[in-house]
Symmetry: C2
Subunit: 248 residues, 2 copies
Amino acid sequence: MHFTAETSSNGVLERDFIVGEVPGVLFSPLAGPDHAPLVLMAHGGGQHKRAPGILGRAHRFVTGCGFTVAAIDAPGHGDRPRTATDERHVALLRQAQSAGEPIYPIVVDMHTTLAARAVPEWQATLDALQELPQIGPEAPIGFWGIMQGTGIGVPLTAVEPRIAAAVFGCLGHESLSEAAARITVPIEFLLQWDDEHIDRRSGLALFDAFASKEKTLHANVGAHGDVPRFEVDSAARFFTRHLGTSPA
Amino acid sequence: MHFTAETSSNGVLERDFIVGEVPGVLFSPLAGPDHAPLVLMAHGGGQHKRAPGILGRAHRFVTGCGFTVAAIDAPGHGDRPRTATDERHVALLRQAQSAGEPIYPIVVDMHTTLAARAVPEWQATLDALQELPQIGPEAPIGFWGIMQGTGIGVPLTAVEPRIAAAVFGCLGHESLSEAAARITVPIEFLLQWDDEHIDRRSGLALFDAFASKEKTLHANVGAHGDVPRFEVDSAARFFTRHLGTSPA
């Protein structure tokens, strides 16, 4: 792991890093105890490690909860090159969008392909993060990712015993049910009741598939992209309950 | 409205009152501004105005949010006599329980009968509460009631424009869909994912039936009676968002 740049704003230290070929950002408090909870944060499709939704949540988690947050670019996203398969998927997606056809079957294929690459990348990133004295093997670890972040995060959490709690959502059960059934850690799951891309029954089926004894579904009125802002606070409290440190 | 007793504990003033034949309790801060938000709190079946779940939530809302809370005994509950119909319902319920038969159809009938009496009682109670200078017509008003509290609260909120936000849950759509479809205020709706009494689809159908533009479903793993304690805090934040005063 190499740190390549360092800035700070609004009480948050932001350090750009690279692990192998994967660029990321580590968000941490300007001062605070070592081994604070670490939240791995995965961005949505077409976005990147500094997308506004990631920056806003990362800052909220750092300043409100005392967490450390790590975000990386998914394969073919942000600063990373696209493979021929990535390009094909993007072309299919644009074609379906302009033809007014359902994009969800293409999205499911994209996520499956992405997850095969992203899961080992997240694991290598986590290995590297745990070598930092500030984090170490002691920091409790959570995962936050909705939409594409769930497409990657569910397979990751299914095979990664270091993740102790996760927020997922805005995705259906297609291709994810088997991985979800292997997950037993506490889950908070977001669902948009009027999602124009994800069938409501498919989202409910994914929530149902998790083997977790503690899982909560938060379903809100609105379209795919209209997750209410108060769900950020709810996620902060969820992670605080399960990973520790003072309440948000 | 007559006040019949007054006690205080843990920073909460509790005043017993009677409106007509309906006994209730008004919970308020020992000191605080007039016209704070008022939450009408309805207990579950077989319970009463001072049941532990009511006391705990009322104290939380008063001390954590600065709200005033009013709880009354439902018809045939607490200090109130049972009618012949109440007795028949209770007998049918016990018979079904000891025979291991489904109780839900009986519960639906009970709620319909109870709501016909309880809705005007809540409205008269609210009229009386608004005549107190501490409350007045200015206090924003919310309703909290799950299970039987939803069986009464949905018909009440459908006809009572003074209620500006409501927490419901743990009940199905049978007999309530039409009233729910007339409700447009913000709703937080609790559903127990493994409810042994309420069919999951019926609970989801009731959430779906509300006409509210802002409504959130919180579904948690567990049986009918196992609503997690953190949902009390969530309800406190929900009412704070919609009725005002400082965050919980």
